[in-house]
């Protein structure tokens, strides 16, 4: 559960993608995530937010601070859209798989950049990608 109110960034254009990753980085800096972890998180957000503009036209990214039961804090990012959804999630998670002429590194790459990663998608309904990066202190 979010420990604080989430910041929500509407994603409609490529400049929103930049805004989303910058907001998350700010929050990550507040939480004293290392500079490297901030960069990994921001890069992952860039990938999933771009997928929104590419495949669903519009959607949103929400960024919030979460806590696990043991006092550890982290950043949770939820990227949601009501676009076409993903037919075969396993396939979409393969390196190099793309239906959009991309590199096909967005989802599998983002997964490698964060601590927790989940994709929920229903064809015709939309897609939600959730990322969590924990503070290491």
């Amino acid at each position: 559960m979010p420990a604080e109110g989430a910041t929500v960034i509407a994603i409609e254009s490529d400049s929103d993608v930049v805004t989303a990753r910058q907001r998350a980085r700010e929050l990550a800096a507040e939480l004293e995530l290392s500079s490297t972890d901030q960069t990994l998180l921001a890069t992952a957000i860039s990938e999933v937010a771009r997928n929104i503009t590419t495949y669903a036209r519009r959607g949103e990214v929400s960024v919030s601070i979460v806590e696990d039961g043991r006092g550890r804090r982290g950043i949770r990012v939820v990227a949601t859209d009501r676009g076409p959804g993903i037919e075969d999630i396993d396939r979409a998670m393969q390196d190099g798989y793309t239906t959009g002429g991309g590199l096909g590194l967005g989802l599998p790459g983002a997964r490698r950049l964060v601590d927790e990663f989940a994709v929920d998608s229903e064809p015709g309904q939309g897609t939600t990608v959730t990322l969590v990066k924990w503070s290491r202190t």
């Binding site: 400049s15 960069t39 860039s46 590199l103 590194l105 967005g106 599998p108």
Partner: protein, 123 residues
Amino acid sequence: MTVPILKQGPFLIATIQAALTDTDVLRLQEDVMQQVTRHRSRGIVVDVTALDVMDSFVSRSLRGIAMMTRLRGASTVIVGIQPEVAFAMVQLGMSFEDVQTALDLEEGLALLQARREPGDGAG
């Protein structure tokens, strides 16, 4: 956010100054090609020191610049990739194996200069 491109002798230097949108990145590609053509440049340095994120789109586009300019007989060197950024690129799966890179502007220019020396006919 337009990226300034300066001419320095036979080379061009494009210095990215802040986060780029995808549109900015595509414009940079076009601008570099235009300047390379206008000045018949033999080499281009793209300085990415200011980028705090290089995602798959930017990485692919920078590699694209290297490939396009090669098709016009010019070499591109990417300089100033920050350590955290390099780390993230590798995790992401972008390796830049086929792209020339150097630590900073100075080393990038030195690399281009070395390429121009006689006896080296490589691309």
